[in-house]
């Protein structure tokens, strides 16, 4: 779970770490699990499994480090290893990650010309949520971690086991895909200018 040197918590210490550092994140964990699985029962199972693993491997959790990031990493790994296999979601999306995207033609302000701030503000229904849910799981995940959960690039890199440059390029692509989706909603709603 971690490269940190192991320590041994006493039974009482372990219970305290579990209660004070792990349990407060149950809301965020369940929401993340639900946005990964789209299924209430699967989300529940995933969170339960994550907490069980967290308990079993509690000695590899260093007090004072970010418990939420540690738990999210376990949840993400459980999802990939166990749940994604069972569910009907495609195992891997075929896309290329270009870490040097800031120097490439991919850099543009595409989206601002035909998707307006007021249009987005007028999306009062589930458009944004649906747009987010429609993204492939790897793209959806980075947006959830960054925008809904407020993790830093560095924390995301640890949770996802990818370099920071990949976090940033994946986020960049995810945001463009999200805007594409919003743009098509805007058009179908007759919002386009």
């Amino acid at each position: 779970m971690s490269d940190n040197p192991r320590q041994e918590y006493s039974e009482q210490e372990a219970a305290q770490v579990f209660d004070e550092e792990f349990m407060p994140h149950i809301d965020a964990m369940y929401n993340f699990a639900y946005r990964l699985t789209f299924d209430e029962d699967e989300a529940k199972d995933l969170v339960q499994e994550t907490y069980l693993k967290a308990f079993r491997f509690i000695n590899s959790f260093q007090q004072g480090t970010n418990a939420k990031a540690w738990l999210f990493r376990i949840l993400k790994n459980s999802f990939i290893n166990d749940f994604r296999k069972k569910s009907k979601q495609p195992a891997k999306v075929d896309y290329q990650e270009v870490e040097t995207y800031y120097n490439s033609d991919d850099v543009d302000f595409k989206g601002t010309s035909d998707l307006r701030v007021d249009t987005v503000k007028d999306m009062l229904g589930d458009e944004i949520s649906n747009a987010l849910n429609s993204l492939a799981v790897d793209f959806r995940t980075v947006i959830i971690l960054c925008d809904l959960e407020g993790f830093t690039y560095e924390e995301m890199a640890k949770i996802l086991d990818i370099p920071i440059g990949t976090v940033r390029s994946r986020l960049h692509r995810a945001r463009n895909l999200l805007k594409d989706k919003l743009r098509s909603y805007a058009q179908s709603m007759g919002y386009d200018n």
């Binding site: 579990f18 149950i26 929401n31 639900y34 069980l52 308990f55 302000f109 986020l171």
Partner: protein, 88 residues
Amino acid sequence: MEKEPTNGEKKLTCGDKAACMQLLEMILDGQADDDQCAQLESKLEKCLPCFEYYHLEKTIREVMKSKCTNKEVPKDLLSNIREIIAKA
């Protein structure tokens, strides 16, 4: 920051897209320091595409935060976890 993009002083095309984009994304993602935030303000003053991009992205994040609201945690989840742990 909240000024309307009607300022005739703003350039209509961005002269330094790669640098602007990198800075904008870091700030929107809450990863920039004070220095970089100050840099952004001066960029937004001068550059219309950057100004528009910034406000669109900021709005999407705000709407997303308010719309992708928290799904309520099932009542038995907490007690289930306690049970599992007690048996572990």
